[in-house]
Symmetry: C2
Subunit: 156 residues, 2 copies
């Protein structure tokens, strides 16, 4: 028998394709590209759209609360929200009791964009080729993976 290397499930992955980090990384880009043409019509970028989905679910969050949900830093979120404000989709208002906080609320224009989301989601779900049940399970798995990784990365 030739000296072909046997790769068992117990070996650490070495090639890029076998690394979970790379797979997630490239899958992220794939979704970005899939959303792009649809979001272009709305004049939105992919991260802007994701930020809006959070506000559609719960309006009036502070920048920090949004960052927690989106797992983004204020250095990313502040400029993004300023662009959404310039586009007229959100308003940014300093808190009154605590003037350090900035609260983000949807404008009518921002709320109206929500109407497009079911079509977009449907289109993406279809592109995945997975059924809703399988997607739902995958979301739970990847979310737990992500949260585990975030926990060990925590800056306490």
């Amino acid at each position: 028998m030739p000296a072909k290397k046997k790769v068992s499930k117990n070996d650490l992955p070495t090639s890029a394709g076998d690394l979970i980090c790379f797979t997630i990384y490239s899958a992220g880009h794939a979704f970005n590209r899939a959303y792009h043409p649809m979001l272009k019509e709305l004049g939105l970028t992919y991260p802007q759209y994701i930020a809006l989905t959070v506000l559609w679910e719960q309006d009036g969050l502070s920048v920090g609360e949004m960052g927690e949900k989106l797992k983004l830093e204020s250095s990313t979120l502040t400029p993004l929200l300023k662009r959404l404000e310039k586009l007229g989709h959100v308003a940014r208002k300093r808190g009154t009791t605590d003037e350090r906080q900035v609260f983000v609320t949807l404008t009518k224009s921002g709320r109206d964009l929500k109407k497009s989301s079911p079509d977009i989601t449907r289109c993406i779900v279809e592109a995945t080729g997975f059924d809703l049940k399988k997607l739902d399970a995958l979301v739970k798995t990847v979310a737990s993976l992500r949260d585990n990784v975030l926990d060990t990365t925590e800056k306490t």
Copy 2:
């Protein structure tokens, strides 16, 4: 019984947390952050490291071939490779038979970096909290999801 909305597995997800795109998106950032401190010691960024893993597997690829493996455009890859060249980890050489192509080869310094990768991979695998078997299955699932999405996005 109150009019609480029932959500079945057949409903389209609406909240950010339930969208596969967002989950993948945030998981990508989580990995980026987890790798950051280790890669910092090597003077590498996360995308640079991923590009190197491809070259460790197969050296001497063209920019286009690397882009295909990494699912990145030349507009992303060219500047990244120039930085890796400036760091002394790769060399970029125009092809002789076809002068449009640029081939990327590892230098000794670039090859040496590979020695650090098992430790890094081990550390990341541990951070996921998943065993290798589960990770392997997840990689396959996410890769197929990604490829499905890329197929429908293809620019033919």
